[in-house]
């Protein structure tokens, strides 16, 4: 029974997705209704996840699934983040698609399917399950990215994402095959014990783990597989970008951490590799972000930088007593900040996202002081200025890096966040220190604005009461 309850959020989201898909056959159902329904399902699943509560690590339906799904505190946190992101994205979409008219009912169904894949991904402790859920998630996101078929940048984005994503999926399958060849298993636990039990390098395992890392790094937008992010984030609609940037990253980092943490030997072998990946991801991301003029592109690049910080946390995770709290907390803090900005963009960008660059947001504070203040809070959180959630998250990451003895990495992380101040401050300066040139009229419904202000509250709540840790 407990297993069933632990799986309940996934079941709720899955049935919601199917239900919405069926509903979309009916002409009478309005787009708004669909967004309310999806919000309802996300909220229900969120509550279910919250009520299930945390417990020790449990294998779900051991007999039926053969130990493929494992729930723990960490997956619960990840689940909450994903479902929360889904809920706010539904709110944002409600507003966004009143201004931009290219949405159909299936949008919400596909979003729910995507969330379904993400939840499954966080739970999976086995490579084939991981692959299936990765593809469920990715396929949904591909469609969401290219939803506006009349838009050229959107089409460009989906083409790039689909092509490269397919390669990543292929790498993942290849890696799985090699690992299975080497260890006779696809379960994380058994792979772990195989690596621990055999000294010396097994070329099959080495190659397999490498390919799987490539796939994860691609999905997480880490160096050197980060180049797609900028165009894809830019081409997708603002709510979709927000969903991708937060929920997808959460899911990918959760499975990445689970995969790494399962065995100390595996973690130790790859630590140097991950060290350099983390450093290059942070600095590469910063260099890209500094040059951007469009807010969405800047956020995409800053997402790369945050992947770098998360990689620091992965380098520093303790494999003996893995709880994932640092990674989970960082993901939560990152998610509220990023999602908040995309919520604000959903209603401020206007028709066809005509306000896209830093210059377009000049003087926002004069016209819409509350929105500007909210965006400022999100930017400060992403920059890691106290007392926001972003600061606490950065603090925990640095602390974990020092505790694990990675002084250099911690200091490089700090240097990178000094660099990142420039582009966060730049937007604040544009909003506050220039005169407004337009009146920033917005249409649509007030839901996205509501989401923005709830998220402002979350930024401070998570920052001041870090319950997770």
């Amino acid at each position: 029974m407990h297993d069933f309850i632990s799986l309940l959020p996934l079941i709720i989201i899955g049935s919601g997705a199917i239900l919405l898909m069926l509903f979309s056959a009916f002409e009478k159902i309005q787009l708004e209704t669909a967004s309310y329904i999806s919000m309802g399902f996300f909220a229900a699943a969120f509550l279910a996840q919250l009520l299930v509560g945390c417990g020790p690590e449990t294998v779900l339906f051991d007999k039926i699934f053969n130990g493929m799904l494992v729930s723990s505190n960490f997956t619960m946190i990840a689940g909450l983040i994903i479902l929360g992101c889904g809920f706010f994205t539904a709110m944002n979409s409600h507003t966004y698609f009143k201004i931009n008219l290219f949405c159909t009912l299936e949008f919400y169904a596909i979003m729910l399917f995507g969330a379904c894949g993400m939840l499954l991904l966080t739970l999976s402790q086995e490579l084939i399950t991981a692959f299936i859920s990765l593809e469920i998630m990715s396929l949904s996101i591909y469609i969401l990215v290219g939803y506006d078929r009349s838009n050229v940048t959107s089409t460009e984005a989906i083409l790039k994402y689909l092509m490269l994503g397919a390669f990543a999926g292929a790498f993942f399958t290849m890696g799985t095959a090699l690992i299975y060849g080497g260890t006779q298993s696809t379960k994380f636990a058994e792979i772990g014990s195989f690596v621990a039990g055999h000294s010396g390098t097994n070329p099959l395992v080495l190659g397999g783990v490498f390919f799987i890392f490539v796939a994860f790094l691609f999905k997480a937008a880490a160096f050197p597989f980060h180049a797609w992010v900028i165009d894809v984030y830019d081409g997708a609609a603002a709510p979709v970008t927000g969903f991708m940037a937060t929920a997808l990253k959460t899911a990918v980092f959760t499975i990445f951490a689970n995969f790494l943490a399962i065995n100390g030997a595996l973690h130790k072998d790859w630590i140097t590799f991950l060290f350099y990946i983390a450093v290059f991801t942070m600095f590469g991301g910063n260099l890209i972000a500094i040059g951007q003029n469009s807010i969405k592109r800047m956020l995409a690049a800053s997402g790369i930088v945050h992947s770098g910080y998360l990689l620091i946390a992965l380098v520093a995770i303790s494999t003996d007593n893995f709880t994932g709290t640092v990674v989970g907390y960082y993901l939560a803090a990152y998610a509220v900040g990023t999602l908040g900005i995309f919520s604000a963009l959903s209603y401020l960008a206007g028709e066809g996202e005509k306000r896209a660059t830093f210059d377009d947001f000049r003087g926002l504070a004069n016209v819409r002081p509350y929105s500007a203040a909210a965006i400022t809070v999100f930017l400060l959180s992403m920059a890691g200025i106290p007392p926001t959630a972003g600061f606490m998250a950065k603090f925990y990451v640095i602390t974990s890096a020092f505790t694990a003895g990675h002084m250099t990495l911690a200091v490089l992380g700090i240097v990178s966040s000094i660099l990142s101040m420039w582009y966060y401050l730049r937007l604040i300066i544009h909003m506050y220190f220039h005169e407004a040139e337009e009146c920033f009229e917005t249409g649509g419904s007030p839901l996205a604005a509501a989401a923005t202000f709830i998220l402002v509250f979350c930024v401070f709540a998570i920052g001041l009461y870090p319950i997770v840790i």
Binding site: P386, F391, I398, F402, I414, I429, Y432, F433, I469
Partner: protein, 507 residues
């Protein structure tokens, strides 16, 4: 309420400021609210000063566990080291609200938030809490300079913000390192500064951590060669922001060194002391020379302020009781004198629309009260005996000579530079011929005169009866020095480099 005196002093202004930002208020109401709040804080500050026993330990302590798994607590308290800094942060603020009536609501709100955050920085005994207030303190400054500053405000804002944030992020890394080292040595997490001072750091990364801390504070002070943000920020900022920056925020940098760096990194500190004190003296000379050549009064005062911060910092690096007491005293003395001078320049700018020294002249004939007040503050700033500036500088130079004769003599003789630029400026602005611009100059009206009078009296009182203040701070200074250096005073002053290999600073 009375057992939470410090919390009230921190959060009353912050919350009032936030409420002012969120709700529509007219600027008159905002100013009066701000004035009432700062006066309330002032009374609490005076109460604390009078109730302070000066035994050397922490008083008015508040401590609540905040994040247990990492030992982070909400810990507040003040001792002789923080007392006068705290007083500087409370006594001077009401003036800003009485004198400048033309600013907007957001400006007054930011001032209040800055005050609350600064008091928080001064009172925090937990490193993380300190860091949080330290960063929050910068945000209102960022907005005040950027929104209400002079024509070149945006570059100035960026410069000060990125400079200080870079410093404080390095400090974040260093403080985490300190806590992690404590965890490794004692097996528990804490960020409490009293407990962290028991830490015995090895070599290696400790030096880097020390340098990171020092860079953060050196930027804030600003210590040569990290002073380059200062002239731009001080000049472009609106007057009361410059006042806040120079009178209080710079002092918090020095205070941070005394409170957080010295107890934890005593060996590294002793090792770098000569270098750091040379940086202090160099900054003092260099900024003093730069001040002589300035044409803009505010910019001149900015350099003068940087020059004085050099000598205040020098007092910390000399590592003896006299110099440390002198520094703590000088922090308050300099806050009153330079703070008031910046406000005077702001008044002159408001009345005559110019700050250029050459455009002014003959003000003393038009405005005798103003000129007298200005002269007293200025003389205190250059350290004339009988004013507050003398006591602090005297003690610092005494300590410096004890520490290293060369540095002491260098510091003592170059104080003359300060007299040069100040008196020359005074001559050109207040005497000489008046022109059509200064003919119209109005003397201080009654309310302005009454606002400045207490501070002017305070400057004189601190110069004539310094013992009232010194007896409150000296026990803490002595304790700090004794706790850190158990070897005899003379030895500390003589040996610039302690014997390495065996740790003779520890009990």
């Amino acid at each position: 309420m009375f057992e939470h005196a410090l919390s009230v002093m921190i959060f009353l202004p912050i919350l009032t400021g936030l409420v002012m930002l969120l709700f529509p208020l007219s600027k008159g109401t905002a100013r009066i609210t701000g004035f009432v709040v700062t006066v309330a804080i002032l009374f609490r500050g005076i109460e604390i000063f009078l109730g302070f026993t000066g035994t050397g330990g922490m008083e008015y302590v508040e401590s609540h566990s905040w994040i247990q798994s990492l030992g982070i607590s909400y810990g507040l308290g003040i001792d002789g080291i923080s007392l006068l800094v705290l007083m500087a942060g409370t006594v001077l603020f009401p003036m800003v609200f009485t004198i400048f009536k033309t600013q907007s609501k957001g400006y007054y709100a930011n001032l209040l938030i800055a005050q609350g955050a600064m008091i928080g920085t001064i009172c925090a005994t937990d490193l993380v809490l300190f860091y949080i207030f330290w960063e929050v303190m910068l945000l209102p400054i960022f907005f005040m300079i950027g929104l209400y500053g002079g024509p070149k405000r945006i570059p100035a804002t960026l410069k000060i913000t990125i400079y200080t944030i870079a410093g404080s992020l390095l400090m974040l890394a260093a403080l985490v390192y300190v806590a992690v080292s404590y965890h490794t040595q004692f097996g528990k997490w804490t960020f409490d500064i009293v407990q962290l001072s028991e830490l015995n750091l090895g070599s290696g990364f400790a030096v880097w951590a020390f340098l990171m801390f020092m860079i953060a504070f050196a930027i804030k002070i600003p210590l040569f060669p990290f002073h380059t943000w200062l002239p731009d920020a001080y000049t472009e900022a609106p007057t009361s922001t410059t006042f806040v920056l120079s009178a209080i925020m710079a002092k918090i940098g020095v205070y941070g060194v005394i409170r957080f760096v010295v107890p934890v990194f005593e060996i590294e500190f002793a090792r770098f002391a000569v270098l750091l004190s040379l940086a202090g003296v160099t900054g003092m000379i260099y900024c003093g020379l730069a001040a002589i050549s300035q044409k803009d009064m505010k910019r001149m005062l900015a350099f003068s302020s940087a020059s004085h911060m050099g000598i205040i910092a020098l007092g910390v690096f000399c590592m003896n009781v006299q110099a440390l007491t002198g520094t703590l005293f000088q922090i308050a003395a300099h806050a009153t004198s330079t703070g008031v001078l910046f406000l005077f320049v702001g008044l002159m700018e408001e009345r005559m629309q110019t700050r250029k020294i050459e455009d002014l002249g003959g003000i003393a004939y038009r405005a005798p009260i103003f000129a007298t007040f200005f002269a007293i503050a200025m003389l205190a700033s250059v350290g004339l005996p009988g004013t507050s500036g003398f006591i602090g500088e005297f003690l610092i130079i005494l300590g410096a000579i004890k520490f290293n004769a060369f540095i002491g003599i260098l510091a003592g003789t170059t104080l003359i530079i300060g007299v040069c630029y100040m008196l020359w400026m005074f001559q050109r602005v207040f005497f000489e011929k008046s022109n059509e611009r200064t003919e119209e100059f109005q003397d201080l009206n009654v309310s302005e005169a009454l606002t400045f009078l207490p501070v002017i009296v305070l400057i004189l009182a601190m110069g004539i009866f310094p013992q009232t203040f010194i007896k409150k701070i000296e026990p803490a200074a002595r304790q700090q020095i004794v706790k850190v250096f158990t070897i005899p005073q003379a030895q500390v002053a003589d040996t610039t480099v302690p014997t390495l290999g065996h740790n003779n600073h520890k009990k």
